[in-house]
Amino acid sequence: MIRYVLTRLGQSVLVVMLTVSTVFVLIRMAPGDPATAFAAPNATTEDLAEIRTQLGLDGSIPSQYLTFLGQLFTGDLGTSYSFRAPAFEVVLDRVPYTITLALAAILLTALIALPLGIWMASRADTTRETGANIATVAAQSMPEFWSGIMLLTVFSVLIPVLPSSGFTTWGGLVLPAVTVALLQIALISRLVRREMVTNLTSPYLTVARAHGFGERRLVWGYALGNSIIPVLTALGTRFAAMLNGVVVVEVVFAWPGVGSLVVRALETRDYPLIQATVLVTAALAILVQLLIDLVYPLLDPRVRLGKATAR
């Protein structure tokens, strides 16, 4: 187990480094000059050259990369051009907001999608399931910016009961979390339904039924347990993706998370901030994946971490 965790951590560091290195090169190859974004519109050529030197942008990409690596190993991710502050600190200021939103959205998803999926599976292919099917397909088809604006219009403008933007009160979390969760609920509930239907029609449950086990016990005690790993994997993957910033929702609700920070960093060609954001969010996403992997054996004793699984 410990060896597995260490191996995975080592792989994670490698993945993060590869990701950050790729981003490092790509942003420098993209059009735009951070010096012009940093300086005033009327800055002279001399000013711009001086700023490039100050920002360490006057060397070749390999030399800039070596400098970056050197700083990285001392824990320095550089100074954000637009915030004039350590890039790592700027990102860390935003991370709690993103985690809060992602956590709220994923828990809301789990709370609604699991029972909904189970309900749909237990009534699979019946007329009663049609309504739920239509609702989930509709939720899956709605772009987040549209559902966000609709929710905002209704609950902040027409019936002003919830804040429209930011996170000044807990109420401010409701609309963005619901907006993010809507799509996830649709996706996850359909996944739960599919897994449950597969398990509920599997031979071992047919045998269990023949032995007189109640349907409730079969659903909650057996089928759900065997369906949970793919569902948990999907939830974990969606959660990890949210940690990279729910850009559209953050923009619609002026949510001060990592997503809106990335947009701003890209607009201003803020290289250190882009790198810091990628590093932090990639590390968080990989950590979440690792935690999910560690939970697998708890959910299914047949899974043994670090060894070949015999299923």
Binding site: G32, A40, L107, S164, G171, E267, L298
Partner: protein, 518 residues
Amino acid sequence: MMSRRTLLKALGVAGGAVAAGALSGCAGPTGGPPPGSVTLGLNRSLVSLDNKLNQFDAAVTVQRAVRQGLTRIGPDLAPIPVLADRFELTAPTQWTVRLREDVRYSDGTPLEIADIETALAMYQQVSGSYLAAFFPEWPAVVPIDERTFTLETNRPLPVLDYLMANVLITPAAANVPEELQSGVGSGPYTVTASNRGTGDYTLRRNENYWADRPRVDQVQVRFMPEESNRVVALRSGEIDIIDTISPDSAEQLRGLADIQIDHVKGTRLNQLFYNFRKPEDHPLSRASVRQALSFAVDGRRLAEDILAGSVEAARGPVAETLNGSVVCGEYTYDPRRAKQMLEAEGIADGDLNLTLIWETGEFASDTTVMEAVVQMLGDVGVSVRLRQFEPGGDISEWRQGRGGDWDILGNGYASPVGAALPILQGMYGGTPERERTRDTYHGYVNPEVVALLDEAYAEVDPDRRQVITAELQQVVWDSWPSMWAFVPNSVLAYRTRISDVGLEPTNSYELARIGLEA
């Protein structure tokens, strides 16, 4: 080890806790300002409480609430004393300044002459500063007594009182050659909490403020980059004041019972500026062709239909509101005359193909304006290709003529100094030397203009200087630098519970003056 059942239970409990939190949020306040507090929604993040590098309109309001200058640009765009009670031109190259008595910073330390000297030194050491470009030379501080000093220059600098309004003063020991993100100032408010990452600041009334006590206890500053967010938040009462709003948003807010919209003629000039780096045989090198193209632009339609009456066509090379500006002429729509003039210049239908470049968000409804211009010029047989740049992209390269060729640039020039002369210098003071490094304003180099600028700067008699400045503007206007130019109004929207906002042409207002209705 945790069992599967325990894990599922734990997930359920955590989910319930979040749901409870959300529900309690539903029952709580909707995020409006606390009692005795005013919340501002800024369109740009207030990354610092200083302005050594950049100066954004909305930021100025907050920065000046914490840090102050010797003077400030007042409502009539003339400098008014703030930390100085005397700021006078006492010799052609000398201004005498006396600091106001008993001014103290919020930490109780007194304002000293050394703070002014250090501030000037720090502003000079910042590369690429927006404000530094307005200083032809930096003055030297020469103390006379504890409160009085002179600002000495090698050549006359008759607008120094305007320029010094933008230099914010900080205790010398705490000043550095970069934008200050915290620290004390002499202003009516002090910062009690800040989060640079999110752009949120909390200001509290400075109980030791040297002038009239601010009327509002607390000011909260929120960064809301999307205009639609700011409009919705204002409507729902979450924030009290938003600035820099587009005509569309103003239209949405107009007529709402609890929202007030103020308009003031602004100081920024937006323009469709010609590229003056064209070869001599290019049609755009002739002023007559540039003028002819101006006749093809229906400015009234652009101003009233597309920009919803939120702008006024320029009548000179700088905003008419600036001190020292004069009316030089008008942009007239006369497509027949445009065609005649183009034909007289040997340009027939389809001969002239132009490229118009601009950066997204340069001004409100920029894309719609550009598309309309394409159609208007098309009506006189001139085709226009549009090339739009994303913010932070390569437009600077293109402006300097290093990225590619272009003919017309849609952009703007802010005028934070309140006087026409420094703006004329910044835009039209290009010289062959500066053009060698592509540091002129789009290749505009006019020896007659440069000579008049030199003459105006050297003239200490205000009346005589104004005569020269007026002549200078006419020379610029007659060279037809822009196809069309306009001055947008400064527009501010606020909830009616706020009183005495007093929007100024510089798109800022004094936070210390505003009040809250009972």
